[in-house]
Symmetry: C2
Subunit: 355 residues, 2 copies
Amino acid sequence: MSRLTLEDIAKKAGVSRSTVSRVVNNHPNVSEDVRQRVQRVIKDTGYRPNAAARTLASQRSRMIGLIYPKTVSSVFADPYYPRLTQGIASACNQNNFTLNLFLANTIDEEEKIISRVLHTGFLDGLLVEAGQIGDQMIHKLTQSEIPLVVMGRPYNASGVNYVDIDNVNAARKAVNHLICLGYDRIGTITGPVDFTVGIDRLEGYRRALIENEIEIDESLIAYGKFAEEDGYHAMKILLLQKPRAVFAASDLIALGAMGAVKEAGLRIPEDIAFVGFDDHPQLKNPGLELTTIRQPVRRMGIRLVETLLDVIENGPAVARSVIMETQLIVRESCGAKQMKASILGSASNSVDVTT
Amino acid sequence: MSRLTLEDIAKKAGVSRSTVSRVVNNHPNVSEDVRQRVQRVIKDTGYRPNAAARTLASQRSRMIGLIYPKTVSSVFADPYYPRLTQGIASACNQNNFTLNLFLANTIDEEEKIISRVLHTGFLDGLLVEAGQIGDQMIHKLTQSEIPLVVMGRPYNASGVNYVDIDNVNAARKAVNHLICLGYDRIGTITGPVDFTVGIDRLEGYRRALIENEIEIDESLIAYGKFAEEDGYHAMKILLLQKPRAVFAASDLIALGAMGAVKEAGLRIPEDIAFVGFDDHPQLKNPGLELTTIRQPVRRMGIRLVETLLDVIENGPAVARSVIMETQLIVRESCGAKQMKASILGSASNSVDVTT
DNA sequence: GTGAAAGCGCTAACAG
DNA sequence: CTGTTAGCGCTTTCAC
């Protein structure tokens, strides 16, 4: 228990309370010897300032909130969120901030969280997952003055700070890779199209085809969410269209889809080639190395915090939008490695192209 | 912004600050009409008390901390932790507590977190993952007076509160199921044996064999961590011993191991039967339904919070240890369903046996 | 049942 | 460079 107060330290060091406060807060106006003396006492006694008192007096808590709306907290176990959360937590540690986690399961919980977070004033800033299109959470949060950064581009992005990747171009890059490898009948299994990320990756697929003057065949587009079983079921349907290659909007989708392909007795990539999206390290499938788009999830978490601290520090005058780089990681599932050198050459060009 | 203070509300309602405070805190000594009047004003103005001021004055913050030590935060993306965290977050919402998340990546971060959490006095209690055996985190935390509940039985459990399942008996139940089905040469792939959970599940495997007077063949024990690739690599080795059935200490291990089995051209369960551990819903493998031990991870999270609130409320006089129930879930991978009715009968007996 | 008053432990002017 | 002095907004005795 932090029974010790500033007063106690002041007494022991033979100075006033304010001087101790200055030392604790690294204020410049303290003579070197006094600083030393006070720091000694602090160290010897193990004194730590009381957080609540500090917050009350300074109106800053060094706490930020991390909100996952109900539309995403149900899929919180998707490797994406833990990884992102790790990055966020890491950056908080780095900057001596404390992270408050809010997972909303129901619309009621969302309301409760919003009201708590906005009005009790114990948070310096807020990180919110973009969530489903039409979700009112972000809208409500922007009404208030609290510094806010959104994870993922919100549907109506005007004036709100966010950190994201360029999903359209990343997906385009993935599909272009398949086109470069010479495949025809390239299909896709989409993510949820009521999230910008799902829409954007589908849009990227379309653009790649259009750019290469390939007609878009709607029957080669199967709709899913991001989960493994979505991939499995969507692939079952897609198989009827006999695609030669598939761009899956997430690694999890790719995993499920590849399961369906194997079940059908087909080989990967000889019969159907795959490119996924995410490159989650923990999804390493030892049997089949997945070609995929790597997004720097952990670093995005760090960047989110840094952006938020910037807003907290320097005000919200300009809206920040940070776009992180992605990278095509070529492994076995796309068939590039099996192909002859000449094609490999043109394919490996795309490896280093970042959005 | 919570520009409004108690004072403002008091003025508007024509009462004193203390009365408003009483209303806010549901104190009994307020006449009904005054209570009504004050509540009206609060509602109309949208007043919310300032959290820092409250904490400072009352010495209670309604915040609890959730700490993942460095030995587990690296595997935070294992579905177990997100699920547990969901349960914890949900219970916090339920009880109007705020959750502070601490993920330690390095030993330095651990130190920093401990010191912050113990001495700045802004937390009413603490939840800590048990972590690796020999980890000093819990030891350090128990030194302080702060209410503490550990997730998973700590290695030296004397006097510390914890919530866990009975890993030994759950594993025993799983292996017994395989024995009942008539398999010989039952192997296991363990979890990390520097965690109590890894040790306990291995112990359960051993006990089941001993109980049934089956000699333990150490070459049928392959050591892994909990990850999918551990399962894959361990199985590669185990295959040389030609096991007829395998108890995997986690679903992820089972997944990886089954991949290796398929790669070897063997069938599940006809050639090798499997039982896993966890029953993570998001790991539904559409190709092969895994027989496994279900542990109520989300409910464990809820229970952790409830136990902690109990300690906060009623003091640490008695040490709480809560053991949650587990359940054997019979699906395809163990081969029970393919077997003839008589054997099925005896097997299904074990289905409802809970620890 | 209600109000007055004294802090909770700290920060931040303001003098000096 | 240092000390004094007000608060930050709330809870909580203690009188009445």
